[in-house]
Amino acid sequence: MIAIVDYGMGNLRSVQKAFEKVGEEAVITSDPAVVQSADGVLLPGVGAFGDAMFHLKQSGLLEAVKNAAKHGTPLLGICLGMQLLFSASEEHGNHIGLNLIPGHVKRFKGKFKIPHVGWNELQVKRQHPLLDGVGKQEFVYYVHSYLVDPTDRNVILASSEYHGEVPAVVSYKNVHGAQFHPEKSASTGLRILSNFGKMCREGVATV
């Protein structure tokens, strides 16, 4: 069973229905005990980084997510949920993140349209069970104004191009992130969620 962490931010129903579609059981929960005992943890999120960290702390879910990650439970952060996995963000001041993957979150900079909204091509850089069956010329749906800058670029499994490289999928031990919304990325996104579900059921902790 996958625990979708409900800390008061984001559209959780879409993620749950997407897991249901691919035959994976997922519950929306704000109970730290449920998060810690789940086979997999999904950290969603839209909105601002600082607010999200505040709500995670207040609800007692921050420790639960960290503990689950420490114990090797597969964790997947989506969009802001992926950014929260990193050390710190410059969004509206400086905020400390979960620090499960070393690196920073920074804003897109330049004279182009921000946020980065729409379907962009996923370029797979490294094979990984999470991207099983994801081939060339597959597209995923993004909507974000900030992007991650991992200290070790090897954690980037796939990226897209938007006025530079945008890390799309990251993975560090059992901690994973998708900058785009797999639950809104049609068959490609469903495939990735299905892969994550399989990893959770099998208890795969890949490096």
Partner: protein, 253 residues
């Protein structure tokens, strides 16, 4: 590379699609917005817009049921618009599973709605819909509200900039001069708005052929193009439009 988006749109009244979508009658219930949404996802649509044109309270709860069912079956982003006047309305629609809401008249009357919605739910879910009509005397486009029945005296470009500064995530721009004519989008208006703001602009009104999509993505500088009857009446299909655009070198999913 980021692709240009093709967005089918349909009007929903009392839980049913208003225009008769003739080509689906054999296989699916063409009047069911959820079935139609699933059809368009399979056909390659990048996003969907559902406009609720119901006036009654009962109709609203029917629409919420449709949003919930759409979320269960459709895995591309969808926007719900029509009759949204408060932050509570926005919350209800997003909670049911919609990704974005579009606000039009209510945002003109109460611009704070954009700021409050963006603050609570994020900029990404606030689509500001603007209906524009060319005013020959002024040589500028004016914002219309109440489905085009009321003039505001406001310039479309000024309002688009203001909406952006308040926290709009995207602009859904409909040309009232072109809407329903099927002889192409208003390229000048679309380009002017797209250049005036740094958020994505969805062009609407006037699509009658696949060439019109090409024009609005190149000359019109639109980030996305919305169309209704051209798809519903199978004058062309999402797949056909996309194949054409791809051949012409436009970045398409």
């Amino acid at each position: 590379m980021l692709t240009k988006r093709i967005i089918p749109c349909f009007d929903v009244k009392n839980g049913r699609v208003v225009k008769n979508v003739s080509f689906l009658t054999n296989e699916r219930d063409a009047g069911d917005p959820v079935e139609l949404s699933a059809y368009y996802e399979a056909a390659g649509a990048d996003e969907l817009v559902l406009l609720d044109i119901t006036a009654s309270v009962e109709g609203r709860s029917t629409m919420m049921d449709i949003v919930r069912r759409t979320t269960e079956q459709v895995f591309i982003p969808f926007t719900v618009g029509g009759g949204i006047t408060s932050v509570d309305d926005i919350r209800e629609i997003l909670k049911a599973g919609a990704d974005k809401v579009s606000v039009n008249t209510a945002a003109v009357k109460n611009p704070k709605l954009i700021a409050e919605g963006a603050k609570r739910f994020g900029q990404q879910c606030m689509v500001v819909a603007i209906d524009g009509k060319y005013d020959r005397n002024k040589g500028d486009w004016e914002v219309l509200i109440h489905g085009g029945r009321t003039s505001t005296g406001m310039s479309v470009i000024d309002w688009a900039k203001k909406a952006e500064s308040l926290g709009a995530g995207e602009i859904l721009l409909t040309s009232f001069d072109q809407d329903g004519k099927k002889d192409g989008y208003d390229l000048t208006l679309t380009r002017l708005v797209s250049e005036a703001v740094s958020i994505p602009v969805i062009a609407s009104g006037g699509a009658g052929s696949k060439e019109h999509f090409y024009d609005v993505f190149t000359d019109g500088k639109a980030d996305a193009a919305l169309a209704a009857s051209i798809f519903h009446f199978k004058e062309t299909s999402v797949g056909e439009v996309k194949a054409y655009l791809k051949k012409k070198g436009v970045s398409i999913r």
